[in-house]
Each structure stands twice: as structure tokens, then as C-alpha cells.
């Protein structure tokens, strides 16, 4: 109660800030040049990108075992809660606020103060600044959620919750500033990343691998079968991801024009190509064309085309997709087994590897004929582009590896990261969330909440695991 009161008071104070400054701003520029078509497109893109996060929840949830499905879902869901708040309070300011040393935004836009409805031409001249802000918010939400795939089935939820909050603040926000912020150093360098290959996929995928290694393998990994409990759920999740990815990639043009069309078409083609190449490689290797392969390939293709989608032509997109599907397949089917790490749902194998391929591919296939504001890649006569891309990749890997390691170790000082073997055996759904995903023949009785209230003062964890 006390905590709530304090929070409320703090927020009540904050509340007055933005509205006032915002009112001023509104007074200054009465008629901003907002384009309704662009605004409509970006708002809807933001909505569909938001929908990607529950899509990811279902994609991961279906691949989990039955006893862990809610935990897999919750890890994505909760990002929609916590990161939205983080972003509006200070995350957006850190990432896109006025530059400090090419490394980070300052705190001018804290609590969205100064982020009003007039366009901010630094980022987008035809849509309200708040629209740009919320479009970026949904990227900040899904990125940490991707990481949960690597540690599914064994990370304690309280540790995870703290982890994504810190990770978003200390890793995502700075890297977003580097790549997309005005005067960010990677942006100045000329590294091409249309919709977030480095910012979203490389850093989340690499962090995922680090987290998987730090937290260790699931109990029984390698000896018990850990196979998807509900593939139609995974297909549905992938479908929502595909749908949302149009907002993710085409929306990154921040309008509804020619470049939007290019990004949209490339997204579709690379996704389709990667789906086919994964399916065919698996078919050749294991004798059957699988549904999980089809959707995994599709996701791999979307990851791979993300940084390139606004810089390459349609046939290049197909090639990027074809290779992306094969590379990611090899990563999850061969490399993972060889090296023996337990990346439960292949967050690294798909996002890390696919994102890296995409960043390289952008340096190969980019063409100014497609997007003058972009650059030419190696295949279009500019071998130097690949250097910028490599620098961007290296920087992202470095910050993701070091940052994730440090954050996890620090959290580990305060609370356990890893669910006990017994908790894993019972399943994270019950042990972390006190729920059962598919209760059917249940027997028992509801306690009156009066009884519940009696336990209210007991420490978290009062609902004891048992099997």
C-alpha cells in the first residue's frame, strides 16, 4: 500500500510536466504538416507490431512443453507491460532524446515531456512525434521478449522481469541510439539497418545465447524429449509475426510511399524464400517437409531481410531469404548440437544468426537504385559498405555479450536466476505463476478470498510447489 502511494505521488507529479510543456508546444505550431495517410499507416503499423509480441508468445508457447507454456507466454506478455512504462518514463528519451556524445540520448524527454503531437522532423516530418514514439515503443517491447526463447523452461520469473527491465535500459536503449538516434555513432558511420537487424535481432539473439550459457541447460536436456506441445499454436504465432512484420519493416519507412512498398514486397519475398529453403533442406536431410520447419524458415527469412528490406531489390530479397533459411537451419540443427548449448527455442539460432546474415547481406545487396538514401553494397560496386556493416555487427555483439553477462551476474547476487530441478520438473507454469494452462478434469474447491487474504502477508512463494 505504502509503495503504491509513493508511486502514485511520484506519477502525479510527473503527470503535470508533459501536459504543460506539451501545451506550450501545441501553442507554438498550430498547424503541423501531418499527412493523414502516413499517420494512418504508422499507427496501424505500430498496432500490428504490438501484435507481434503476443504472436511471439504463442510461437514460443506452442514449442514449449505443456507444463511451461504459460511461462513462455508470460515472458512475452509482461514485456508489453513493463517496457511500455519504461519507454514512456525514460527509455524513449535515452534512445531518441538529444544526443550525448554519440552514445545515448539525454533525459530531456523524460516522462514524454516535450514529446507532443507535432512532427519531429529529425525523425519524421509527416507524422505526430507521439506516433513515432509509439512506433518505436513496440520495437523496444518485442526485442527483450525474443531473449526469453533461449532460457525458456528454466529461468525464474522474478529474475527475468528484472532482467528485461535492465537489459532494455542498458543495452537496447543505447544501441537504438547508436543506430537510429540523431548523431548516434553507428548512424554517422553509415551502417545500414533499415528496420532493426542489429538493434533488434542481433543484440537480442546474442544476449539470448549468453543468457542460455549463464543459466545453464534445462534439466534432462539431451536425454528427455523436449518437443513442441502444440504446433498449431506455433503456426498461429508465426502467422501473427508475419502479419506484424509488415508493420515492422514497411512501417520503418515512416510513411506510406514508394519505399514502404519496397520494404513490404521484400519482406514477403524473403520470408517465402526462407520458408521454402528451410523446408527443402530439412526434407533432403531428414526425409520429411515439416510444418515447424516451414514456420521456422519464415521467421528466419523475416529476420534476415529486416536490415535490408528498404535497400535491396526484390530478387536480392529472394536470395537473402533463401540463404537465410539454410543458414538458420544449419545453426539450429547442426551447430547447436555440435556445441551443445541449450538455446531452448532457438532465439540465437534464428535471431542471432539470421540477424547477422541479414546485416552482412545488406552490405552485399544494397543498391542506391532502390533507395538513394541508402548505399551501394559489394555487389553494386561498393566494397566498403561491408566494413561499416562489420563494425556495426561487432559493436552489437560486444555490447550484447558483455552487457548481458554483467546484468545477469548482478541480478544473480540478489535472487536466483535458475529454477530448481524440482521446479523445472513440476513445470514453470505452476511453480512461477500458480496456474495450469489446460485445466480440464479438475477436482477441488475454491477458497473464499477471505482465506486468501490471510495469506496476503506471507512472503511471495506462499503457494508452494508440490507434485
Amino acid at each position: 500500500m505504502k509503495i503504491l502511494r509513493t508511486i502514485l505521488m511520484a506519477l502525479t507529479f510527473l503527470m503535470t510536466l508533459p501536459v504543460l510543456s506539451w501545451a506550450d508546444e501545441a501553442a507554438e505550431a498550430v498547424a503541423p504538416a501531418i499527412d493523414t495517410g502516413d499517420t494512418a499507416f504508422i499507427l496501424i503499423s505500430a498496432a500490428v507490431v504490438l501484435l507481434m509480441t503476443p504472436g511471439l508468445a504463442l510461437f514460443y508457447g506452442g514449442m514449449s512443453r505443456k507444463k511451461n507454456v504459460l511461462n513462455a507466454i508470460m515472458c512475452s506478455l509482461i514485456a508489453m507491460g513493463i517496457i511500455s512504462i519504461q519507454w514512456s518514463l525514460f527509455g524513449y528519451s535515452l534512445a531518441f532524446g538529444p544526443d550525448v556524445g554519440h552514445l545515448i540520448g539525454n533525459l530531456d524527454w523524460i516522462g514524454l515531456s516535450g514529446v507532443g503531437v507535432d512532427p519531429n522532423p529529425d525523425y519524421s516530418a509527416t507524422i505526430p512525434h507521439q506516433v513515432f514514439m509509439v512506433f518505436q515503443m513496440v520495437f523496444a517491447i518485442i526485442t527483450p521478449a525474443i531473449i526469453s526463447g533461449a532460457v525458456a523452461g528454466r529461468m525464474r520469473f522474478p529474475a527475468y522481469l528484472i532482467f528485461i527491465l535492465l537489459w532494455a535500459t542498458f543495452i537496447y536503449d543505447p544501441v537504438a541510439h547508436w543506430v537510429w538516434g540523431v548523431d548516434g555513432w553507428l548512424r554517422n558511420l553509415g551502417a545500414l539497418d533499415f528496420a532493426g537487424g542489429t538493434v533488434v535481432h542481433i543484440i537480442s539473439g546474442v544476449s539470448a545465447l549468453v543468457a542460455a550459457l549463464v543459466i545453464g541447460k534445462r534439466k534432462g536436456y539431451g536425454t528427455q524429449p523436449m518437443i513442441p506441445h502444440n504446433l498449431p499454436m506455433t503456426v498461429l504465432g508465426a502467422a501473427l509475426l508475419w502479419f506484424g512484420w509488415f508493420g515492422f519493416n514497411a512501417g520503418s519507412s515512416l510513411g506510406a510511399g514508394s519505399l514502404t512498398a519496397v520494404a513490404f514486397v521484400n519482406t514477403q519475398l524473403a520470408t517465402a524464400a526462407a520458408m521454402m529453403s528451410w523446408v527443402f533442406v530439412e526434407w533432403l536431410r531428414h526425409g520429411k517437409p515439416t510444418v515447424l520447419g516451414a514456420v521456422s524458415g519464415a521467421v528466419a527469412g523475416m529476420v534476415a531481410i529486416t536490415p535490408a528490406c528498404g535497400f535491396v531489390g526484390p530478387m536480392s530479397a529472394i536470395i537473402i531469404g533463401l540463404i537465410g533459411g539454410v543458414v538458420c537451419f544449419l545453426a539450429v540443427a547442426v551447430v547447436k548440437a555440435k556445441l551443445g548449448y541449450d538455446d531452448s527455442l532457438d532465439a540465437f539460432g534464428v535471431h542471432g544468426v539470421g540477424g547477422t546474415w541479414g546485416a552482412l547481406a545488406t552490405g552485399l545487396f544494397a543498391s542506391k537504385a532502390v533507395n538513394e538514401a541508402g548505399g551501394d553494397g559489394v555487389f553494386f560496386g561498393n566494397p566498403e559498405q561491408i566494413v561499416s556493416q562489420l563494425i556495426a555487427i561487432a559493436a552489437s555483439y560486444a555490447v550484447a555479450i558483455i552487457g548481458t553477462y554483467v546484468i545477469l551476474k548482478v541480478i544473480g547476487l540478489f535472487t536466483k536466476l535458475r529454477a530448481s530441478d524440482e521446479e523445472q520438473e513440476i513445470g514453470l507454469d505452476f511453480t512461477q505463476h500458480g496456474e495450469d494452462a489446460y485445466a480440464s478434469t479438475v477436482s477441488g474447491s475454491p477458497f473464499s478470498p477471505g482465506v486468501g487474504a490471510a495469506t496476503a502477508s506471507a512472503p511471495a512463494g506462499v503457494v508452494k510447489p508440490a507434485l
Binding site: 524429449p225 513442441p228 530439412e282 531428414h286 520429411k288 515447424l292 537451419f329 540443427a333 547442426v334
Partner: protein, 112 residues
Amino acid sequence: MTKIECILRPGKLENVKEAVNDFGIHGITVTQVIGCGLQKGRTEVYRGTEYNINLLPKIKMEMVIPDKDVEAILKLVTKAARTGEIGDGKIFTYKIDNVVRIRTGEMGEIAI
């Protein structure tokens, strides 16, 4: 009274049920189970890793019948459920001490 417990291929349920119905047996309880025997499971592939799934879906069908019908029923079921391939299943029989029909409270053979 004897319980006849048959482990069947899922696709044979309808056949066997018809066969015993025709004979005049109507009380049947069916459970979804998984099992293995001589049959060694099958290989499924998920993201390029092959898994050997040992336990395959089967149907368990239980009927409690008068002792005199046991032999006939065993023949009937065996015939209706056979494909001749490994994995056709088994029938187990054992004696039941008592039966109660809950609706009426009747006990013994008339309650079957």
C-alpha cells in the same frame, strides 16, 4: 465375471466395437493410452533433430462380461482387430469379483 482389456490400434476401435455389439455386448469403457511392445516407436523431426518416440497412441477397451462369453469374445476381438503387422496389440483377461450398477444398486452378473 471377467474383464476383457484390449489394447488396440486407434483405427480399429470402430471395428471391434461393432463386432462385440453384434454379439450382444454393450457395456464398454474406452481409454486413450500410449504404449510400446515389439513395436519400436517412430522417428519424428523437430528443427532438424530426430526424436525417437517410443510410445505410440493406442486405445484401451475394457468390457466386463459373463465368464461364459470370454472365449467367444476373445476370438471376435482378435479377428476384428488384426492387421497382421507388429503393433496390433494385446488382450488381457482377469476375474472381477463384483459389479454394481449404480443406477439401481443391483450387484453381480445381472449388473453387467
